[in-house]
Amino acid sequence: MEYVVRLKDLVKDYGGRKALDGITMQIEEGEIFGLIGPNGAGKTTTLRIISTIIKPTAGQALVCGIDVLKAPNEVRKLISYLPDEAGAYPNLSGEEYLKLMASFYFESGKGIGEALEEGRKISGLGERLKEKSSTYSRGMKRRLQLARTLMVKPKLAILDEPTSGLDVTHAYHLRNVIREYARTHSTTILLSSHNMLEVEHLCDRVSFINEGKLVESGSPQELKSRYGARNLEEAFMKVVGVA
């Protein structure tokens, strides 16, 4: 079967600094996959390559068998990306923003309307969607962005630290939305996080990334038992050899 994401020996060199040093991994259809690692490990770099924003120095990245370097426009039709720091156009209301973004994915008014309806539901922002997005709190902005990412029903949703910097209630809401959405739409989700506990509850499978290398992969359950750890945090520390 064809993998939704397939990375082969991916290397990214930022002018002398190796951010990625040979990443190989694959994600199956319908999986919620977590890429976890400390700051500067190379999570964002990996996600940006898959999202066609930056180009790998060496190696290959395929989305549903399509090479991101050879056919980026084809890849963009399959994915939807939530950057770690994302904003909306400050002069638009939340609803106008969702409508504008939906219009890039759908030609027909019907398609746009359906996406907008889905976006409204996902955001859970209700009447506040009529207000300018510049008036939103950080948590609301993130909800709007998650709604924008998922409403277009992508084959692959790429979420870079979807809950970082949010309080418990917003983070909880977002996690629930992601889990629910993946289940009902059988969308493949690739997310990054440095919050190991969150990932443990959310992801079917995870990979530890450290200093540009994948150091361990498996389901949270497998990893914990393999390292005799109570949680993923402990497992990670054992893998990188600190604990």
């Binding site: 930022y14 999202s51 066609t52 924003i53 930056i54 904003g87 909306a88 002069n91 890039f104 924008r148």
Partner: protein, 421 residues
Amino acid sequence: MAKEVKDLLRDPKILVGMILFPALIYPLMGAAMSISTGSVIETASANMTIYMIDDDGGPLASTLKEFFRGGNFTVEAVEGDPASMAASLHGGDVLIHVPSGFSENITAYRRADIGIFVNFKEFSIVEFIKAGRAEGIVRIFEGAITNALISNAFPNAKAEDILNPVKIDYNSVIRGEAQPINPEVLQNTMRLQGAMGPIVILLVLILAMQVAATSIAVEKEAKTLETLLTIPVSRLSILFSKLIGSFTIAFLASVATVLSFSYYFTTVLGTAAVDQGLDLSVLGIGPSSTGFIVLGATLFGALLSALALALTLGTLAQDVRGAQSLVGVLMVPVIMPMFFIMFGDMSSLPAALQTALYLIPFTYPMLASQALFTGNYGTVFVGLAYMAAFTFVTLYLAAKVFSSERIMTARLSFRLGRIKR
């Protein structure tokens, strides 16, 4: 994309700066000019009081008074020390001091003194005009005296021929035809008409560059760029929608500028030129409608080049402030041609400088605004082709940057003057 244009038009800065301002500046200037011209003309013809200290009391002092009355002056006799007397008058008031011996000196063929005191309070144009009017009467009086003296001495000759034994017949050859025009008059008329064009061209160019240069930086700052780069829209369409957005604004701005400029030309300056007894269009060097179309075309071409350049370089800036300081740097090649062309003449510049100017696309609208009078369109047409090529190459570079990852990662640093990746 319509989104870009609507978004830009919603921005009041752009609407006012790029469309309203150029559309209104010339008519406003025209109105200001005709209002002040009106008050000047009024001053020049209105009845005016002249104060006179007559220490002479002779017949020629009386004649002088008659001359003033004939020139629509009311002569008010005063007495005392002329300087302190003049100091007590209003701004623009003129005091004439006729010293004793005035009449006697003139009749004895000796040069006679006369004092003119002008009280300046505001140094306004009205005060200067009043002073000039008073002196004018004295000069007419002097002319009459001269004629009388010459007629006395040479009863058979005309005074005019003795005073100016050589008469110059001025001819300005314009486009192969000799016209009886004093070059000085021609120069004054043309300078008056030519000076204002480049300044507004400059303003429109700088504003357009601001819009284009910041268009990507704005997305970077609002953190919308990263998302924009992953939507299923090709990078080229993103580039072109950014361009079309800025172009639409720039196009409206050039139309507004040219219409307003031609209005200013044909109405306000038209009458000013006629006042000087010189109608440029009769001479075949007045601005023609073809001239305005060519001016519009070069302005549009320069705008396209400016936008393409600003957009390309602006893409490399980290944030809006960086993009704005970039526009500051780009202003140098915009202003340079203006200075050289306004205050000099292309053909008299050193060859290297000429080449440099011809390589700057912004030179051509300036040349076109000159060509309105000179009819020298050859260079302008070459310039149009050059600007098209320049725009094309710049856009090619922009497309390169847009489809590379540099649009995300470039850090343009002006202090170091190099591009870090």
